[in-house]
Subunit: 393 residues, 2 copies
């Protein structure tokens, strides 16, 4: 059963659902009884309500209370990923008392890295590593060797915040306390490793324009539903592009060659905007860029875009004029619009995430079709306006 | 100095370079002397050669030997991220001997989670957690309480592989051994957390078409150089698109309305191809999808694409015919090409990463401009061929 319990926590959600549906309720109780309370909570929260109740009524009484407590916190908060299993001693304890506490819990807790020192009202006052217990004599007062300079999190903190703290301070475990600094639980680094993976996956998923994470075992219908929303946003956005084009229909009729370069201006605006957006979003998420610096960074993006725009435009001028034998004046207008479009697209790509962040919207959403579609529309507008200005009127 | 050492390891590379250039060689020696050998190696490898030599000649002799050993391994291999500081005892030791070993190294090593049990030829035979040392009596033979079912890595293993193992088995530290199972060092979970972040950043960077990671402090010229290669690939690809269009110039001249919908077919093919490519790449990297299953997954992508293609095509038909008053026969051909293009683009997006992986190329590269440009070219080809077939000939 212990092995079954270990395996069940690592499974893909759909497969877990199928397995849990197949097996007997009593077997589920046995499996969940073996788990640490954080993993148990994850699984119970996914069970159908009647089975969840049955499980909570039949597992170890104390665990059941704790799981019910943990179920109150959102799944992606510190409270949602913490376990309420921790080893602790009171302030008047000695090293010997602490070792006894470790011994008492050795079998039950998966990992013990620290002993927490609490006041009688559960207030956290210090932590002691197992290393410290080993190197000090048995009658040492625990308060004399404990670390009092504490790093802790609140249960309502976002799991990404917790991951940042654990990563920044190279911790293996961080205590979770309430507003009165009363100890509620702890979060270990293995849970945080999962969080980091999850958050990276989420960012990538937003770039891909997926509305939630796809599991390999999802049905084609389910996957279709995940991908469709952004495809429809894209479709509607590009209808605006079509409308822009139709307002220049007279120009296109007069200079059909202008239509040939539509893919180039669209793709180049799209790529440079996407690059700027992704770099900005990563910076904002990793806190490398603070919001106040965002606008300074946009200035740098402007210089990058001018530079790359100029280089790409030169290549475009040479190839279109000398290779495709396009008239030099048209090549010049085309290449100049490329510089303007790439610069504009880069600024849009870098600015939209900053604005989103400023108004409390997740900046990663901008990397999806929003920046791409905006840039397509304005790119076409810029290109065709210039062509019309120079060659039609 | 200890604090200076901690800070220096967390800095952005450019800023570190500036600081290390500003300060005195002797100060650098002091700072590096304080670090664990894995962090020291990272910094020494970035120093100019003459300073690196000076540092290696002046830090603690034993550390210097170890850093020189570690410098031999590639930066992103297990050998490159391991530290050669570890606490160990020989097979005939008792719990008391192990505790003495912990006591001896307590100050020097940042983290101790396990004591390694070695044969006299350095062969690793077991590990003992500090918890085990605490709960067993002092005269217990170490071999009777050690874990013999060992998980370890080789120095030449990729750091991503190491991260997968640590994550899968929820470890805080994993030993690194050579081909004769001789203990070389250990990798702790805090280093792996950095690796996971790094790998996620790398994947995203490939999606954005960046040739290396951008640091916030990079100059505009440097950033331009990072982004330019893929922009040029994109530019050349879209010139092929322009050539495709020019071969249909007669059709476009006859039916100028056909040009209006170029942005729609390009963007929709692009988005669905990108979604499929990103999902496939994530699956291949996370090993959720094995290569042999890749082709089965492509079949599922086919069904997803047909479904979404049909829905988007219906929306497109209704809007173009009823809202834009496009002739029903043209709307029908346009919408039908959308289904074909989205299906084709999805298959391309899902297939290219699998083929790359098959031939040992990093599949993540496919998510850059390669899939996008291929889909633009074929999308235009499909759309204009159908338009020509039905309305021009």
């Amino acid at each position: 059963t212990e092995e079954a319990s270990e395996v069940i926590t690592e499974l893909d959600e759909n497969i877990r659902e199928i397995i849990l549906n197949e097996i007997d309720k009593e077997k589920i109780v046995d499996i969940i009884d073996e788990l640490d309370t954080d993993d148990a909570t994850d699984i119970v929260s996914d069970l159908p309500e009647n089975i969840a109740e049955h499980v909570l009524d039949n597992i170890d009484r104390e665990d059941s209370e704790e799981v019910k407590e943990l179920l109150k916190y959102p799944e992606d908060s510190a409270g949602g990923i913490m376990t309420s299993d921790f080893a602790y001693v009171l302030e008047d304890a000695t090293v010997k008392d602490a070792i006894d506490e470790v011994r008492k819990n050795a079998d039950e807790f998966e990992h013990i890295y620290y002993i927490y020192v609490l006041k009688s009202n559960d207030e956290l006052v210090g932590i002691v590593s197992l290393k410290k217990l080993l190197i000090n004599s048995l009658d040492t007062k625990i308060t004399s060797i404990m670390e009092e300079d504490l790093i802790y999190v609140k249960p309502e903190d976002d799991q990404e915040e917790v991951a940042n703290i654990i990563e920044k301070y190279d911790l293996v475990s961080v205590p979770v306390v309430d507003d009165h600094k009363r100890m509620l639980g702890r979060i270990t680094v293995d849970d945080v490793v999962d969080v980091i993976h999850e958050e990276a996956t989420e960012d990538i998923q937003k770039i891909a324009g997926l509305s939630e994470e796809e599991e390999i075992s999802d049905s084609a219908f389910h996957i279709s539903r995940i991908r469709l929303p952004w495809l429809l946003v894209s479709l509607i956005g590009e209808m605006v592009s079509a409308t822009v084009l139709s307002s220049f229909q007279a120009s296109i009729e007069k200079i059909v060659a202008a239509a040939l370069f539509i893919p180039i201006v669209m793709a180049m605006g799209g790529s440079s905007g996407q690059q700027a957006a992704i770099v900005m979003v990563r910076g904002l998420i990793k806190k490398d860029i603070w919001l106040s610096e965002g606008f300074g960074k946009i200035l740098k993006e402007f210089r990058v875009a001018m530079l790359n725009g100029f280089i790409c435009a030169s290549v475009l001028f040479v190839t279109t004029h000398f290779l495709f034998k396009v008239d030099w004046s048209f090549s010049l207008v085309l290449s100049s619009s490329l510089i303007i479009i790439m610069t504009f697209a880069t600024i849009i790509g870098a600015t939209i995430p900053v604005i989103f962040k400023r108004f409390g919207v997740d900046p990663a959403i901008a990397t999806g079709p929003i920046v791409a579609t905006t840039n397509d529309i304005f790119g076409l507008l810029i290109y065709l306006s210039l062509v019309t200005l120079f060659f039609v009127t």
